[in-house]
Subunit: 369 residues, 2 copies
């Protein structure tokens, strides 16, 4: 698997006239060789050259962490008093054009630019993004397992198994986190819990606000799956809303429009559809209910080894959806100081049509006040 | 507090001939204005210019997350179809020399370099690092509270309250994580649990290895403190070793030398001492026991809003310690395929001498087999 990915990367490098690819922290590296760099000041960097070499430059004492794959890459340990930037620059030779990992710390890019003054630089995402966006069958299987895990957490929310009223958002968020881990994830990436007027802030930070009877509770949560050592994990991401008691008619009406907008957008996510057209389907449906001006963000983002990746379902992105693209479909409305709602599923575009990976109930769940 | 920091940053910018400072993800931003950027593809960036402006460019719908401080910085929201790089480049004007946040994603630096082709770039750490390295009194108080929190977790390990034998490293690691959170931390940064031969890998990833009777268990853990919204958290970091049953004489002897090396290094961490001299004190003491060749890493790293920051206690760093520097002192020995040990405290250099923040027992803890 990793060897095939490396071959595809080399083909894309040649097409983009890139002589050397350098990957450090972030999801490209585990996707490509199964190793995740520690996000520390000691540089870990994979150097892939056009001529067929791939060397993982890594602190000597972290070498035991690596699941070695000598047919895919070599390991170059550096000791505490060596300069890893000089080692990387040396491996890169006099590259004309280098691609640097999107998440690589800028301090390392600045240092590399000093060491390689004649090189021009592009973001590695221009090489790896389009490859990662088309999921292999086993990747869809892992995304599906991740989705099933958070679906069970959503079920527990919707059934009232997770108590809400009288607890702080932060407390419920912590419980969601524990349940995400218990459902096959190694890491919790986020667990937004936004009650009442806080639901009007799409990226609300769960805090000390106590959840009361008679309000919406928006929960948006996900993590990265636990995998055998040397294999990258895959991400989950779901949003569901619960009302603590009978919702007012005005909210229910808005929610019904949102639910219909989400359903229509999922149906529109067919292979070949321009990414922005799917966003527009949801936005147009919300406009019918005069809610489009409260839909403050794009419709969705790709998902895989990274929580947000290509393709983005946003106005301006005319790229057609490919078979194997996996992405969120998550329209919402956010009315400042009042309330908000969002419904989110992960969907895979397939030649047989859109395949939603999440199955948790889309209706507005009402729990006893 | 934030206003004073910004003033100090501007003074350092002027001294370094830097016209504009740009901070995104990473610890510089919360240290400077109390806001932590979300590590996502939507750019959040503070732009500080020499002429007195400071603008936080942030996705419009994340604006509600910001604790605003209009006397310190302005907020510039951008909508989903705007280009944040263009907004930042515009704010930067035609800067000759720009400092980019150390952890900023390289994809944004590459894009900014395209938008500002005449600008030369340095890493922002050259400006902020020396300022952050000298802790204010209230910062020492938070580091001390963080240290007291992990001390209590260490006590639970050493007293046998946390069972070890028969459990996997990963299971013990998860329990350490839960206890770290319960002790006033918002985030677990790491919880290394390395049993027997795994203790020979300094950055071992806790895994499925089951802890047995009659072996060393090295535990290195820490997190970032929970703080009121709009205030940055501070990091803890401690290492202690437990033996499951009576240790062999050879291990105890090596451990005693290590303990003495750690104690001597702490005593040597006085204001004015070159950073590398403190490393050498520990290394020389380990040499007396023929263990220096197994001491594979530097002696320590600074700590504050970031787990690893200036100053680094490593051969080659001749900078003298300043009053207010906070750093780890963590010698170790790592004998491949056999065992390893490390003892780590956080210490603050003060005019009254070194002040260790951790108080958990330094002796080798022995728990019942």
């Amino acid at each position: 698997m990793f060897e095939q990915r490396l071959n595809r990367v080399r083909t894309a490098m040649a097409a983009a006239d890139v002589d050397v690819l350098m990957l450090s922290v972030g999801p490209d590296l585990p996707w490509l060789i199964g190793y995740e760099a520690m996000p520390l000041e000691r540089l870990t960097m994979l150097v892939v050259t056009a001529d067929g070499r791939a060397d993982l430059v890594i602190p000597q004492f972290e070498v035991p962490r690596v699941v070695e794959r000598p047919d895919v890459f070599s390991v170059v340990g550096w000791s505490e008093t060596e300069d890893p930037v000089a080692i990387v620059a040396d491996l890169a030779g006099g590259a004309d054009r280098a691609a640097i990992g999107d998440h690589t710390w800028s301090r390392f890019l600045v240092a590399l630019q000093g060491a390689l003054p004649a090189t021009t630089w592009v973001a590695a995402g221009s090489i790896t993004g389009p490859l990662r966006a088309v999921k292999e069958a086993h990747e869809v299987a892992r995304l599906s397992a991740a989705a099933a895990g958070v679906d069970r957490v959503a079920n527990a929310l919707q059934s009232g198994e997770i108590p809400l009223i009288g607890r702080t958002e932060a407390d419920v968020s912590a419980e969601l986190g524990r349940r995400i881990l218990a459902e096959g994830h190694a890491v919790v990436n986020f667990a937004i819990v936004a009650a009442g007027e806080n639901a009007a802030s799409p990226h609300h930070h769960a805090g000390s606000r106590v959840i009361r009877a008679g309000e919406v509770v928006l929960c948006d949560f996900g993590g990265t799956t636990e995998e055998p050592e040397g294999q990258p994990g895959y991400c989950s991401d779901i949003t569901r809303c619960v009302y603590t008691g009978e919702p007012p008619a005005e909210f229910r009406e808005a929610y019904d429009a949102l639910q219909d907008a989400q359903r229509r957008a999922v149906a529109a996510a067919v292979v070949g559809a321009p990414a922005e057209s799917v966003d527009k389907v949801a936005r147009d449906r919300l406009a019918e209910a005069d809610l489009d001006r409260w839909f403050l963000h794009r419709l969705g983002h790709g998902i895989g080894v990274e929580a947000h990746e290509d393709p983005y379902l946003v106005a301006g992105n005319q790229d057609p959806l490919d078979a194997g693209n996996a992405f969120s479909i998550e329209p919402g409305f956010y009315i400042a100081d009042r309330w908000g709602a969002r419904i989110e599923d992960i969907v895979v575009a397939t030649d047989d049509g859109p395949r939603p990976l999440n199955a948790a109930d889309h209706d507005l769940a009402v729990v006893e006040a």
